[in-house]
Symmetry: C2
Subunit: 212 residues, 2 copies
């Protein structure tokens, strides 16, 4: 076993520490966020900071570092209030990763990476046509986090598009069958292999397997 | 393809919607959070809401629903300012899931689930001895999210314990080799299989594979 103290972490070279601390939190959601600016120019960016915030109302959070390429996405969300979340599969993960390159604001990452914008149900932000699981989000609140100048946006899920056959009778969406990937650190992409779904835990019994 | 409107989501039966919306965000981190109350009684709870917030200072966020079993964890964090994060492997995922059962406050989930508390470096919150990747966290800020009465705690990482052989030369931690699991929805546990680590994206080149 190896251990690191607070001082050893503080003394790490900056990029080394970024890779190290980004790894520590475990496997993460990795998605493409689609937006449009007020002129209609579409933007696409990869995020590994999406998280579930609540089901009723259906809310999700997204963290922005204001000094990064993500600022185009944040500006568009502030200006239009709308964004799309698109899951990433093995077929598009190279293009998805490439969307994090620092393209100029006038370049759409859709054309730069070869992904296809798609508009669904008159929602004004673009979806990724190649993504299999997608949802639309409307901004509800922006919370500045003063400790490190990051920004938390909270959005409400207003529409969901799923491939057939992955929604289970109890509402669970089988992301693994949909081919959704997960990521770790800043740059590692992974498939998943289910161990099991487990029954709701109760004090006097042991959990049972619902689905292998 | 199947789609769901905002109204269809709002009309879902409550547990169905919880499973559905919890699945949408993609694969998540799943960890055990260890705390002690002011009398020294240890508490352990499983969370799938841990997220990376920044590397310098090293910060992580955790979301609490105040009406849930997680309240013992939140009370302990508010009272002591200290908690531990413990990654979950296949060897302990049943016990980890079982920690979410509604045990009375006087029952330690360690003894109830058969996991072993361990104290490292005089940190006052307990670690899980069976976990392979662990870190200590000190509370920095509590942010109430008024939209849905959840609570975001932000903590600073003050110490890290890793198994040998998983730290790469650039600071990346190979969670897959450490056996760290991911989860989806409320109750599905998954191993991972790496596709690749990719090089930092630049506008004029395509990403290359660092590690398969």
């Amino acid at each position: 076993m190896t251990s690191f103290s607070a001082k050893q972490i503080a003394d790490m070279e900056q990029r080394y520490r970024a890779a190290f601390i980004n790894s520590l939190g475990g496997f993460k959601s990795v998605v493409l966020v689609g937006t449009s600016d007020t002129e209609g120019l579409s933007n696409l960016a990869i995020f590994n900071s999406l998280f579930h915030l609540g089901a009723n109302p259906p809310l999700c959070g997204l963290i922005f570092r204001p000094d990064s390429v993500e600022r185009h996405t944040l500006e568009n969300i502030e200006n239009t209030g709308k964004y799309t979340i698109n899951h990433i599969t093995e077929a598009i993960y190279l293009q998805a990763h490439q969307s994090s390159a620092r393209y100029p604001k006038t370049t759409s990452e859709f054309s730069a990476t070869g992904l296809t914008p798609e508009w669904l149900d008159d929602f004004s932000a673009p979806f990724v046509a190649e993504s299999r699981l997608r949802f639309s989000v409307e901004l509800r609140e922006i919370i500045p986090i003063r400790l490190n100048n990051t920004i938390l946006t909270i959005g409400q899920i207003t529409g969901v598009w799923l491939p057939d056959g992955i929604l289970q009778p109890d509402g669970f969406i089988d992301l693994e069958s949909a081919g959704t990937l997960t990521c770790s650190g800043l740059d590692s992409y992974h498939r998943t292999e289910r161990l099991a779904r487990l029954t709701y835990a109760k004090p006097d019994t042991w959990p049972e397997v619902i689905l292998k």
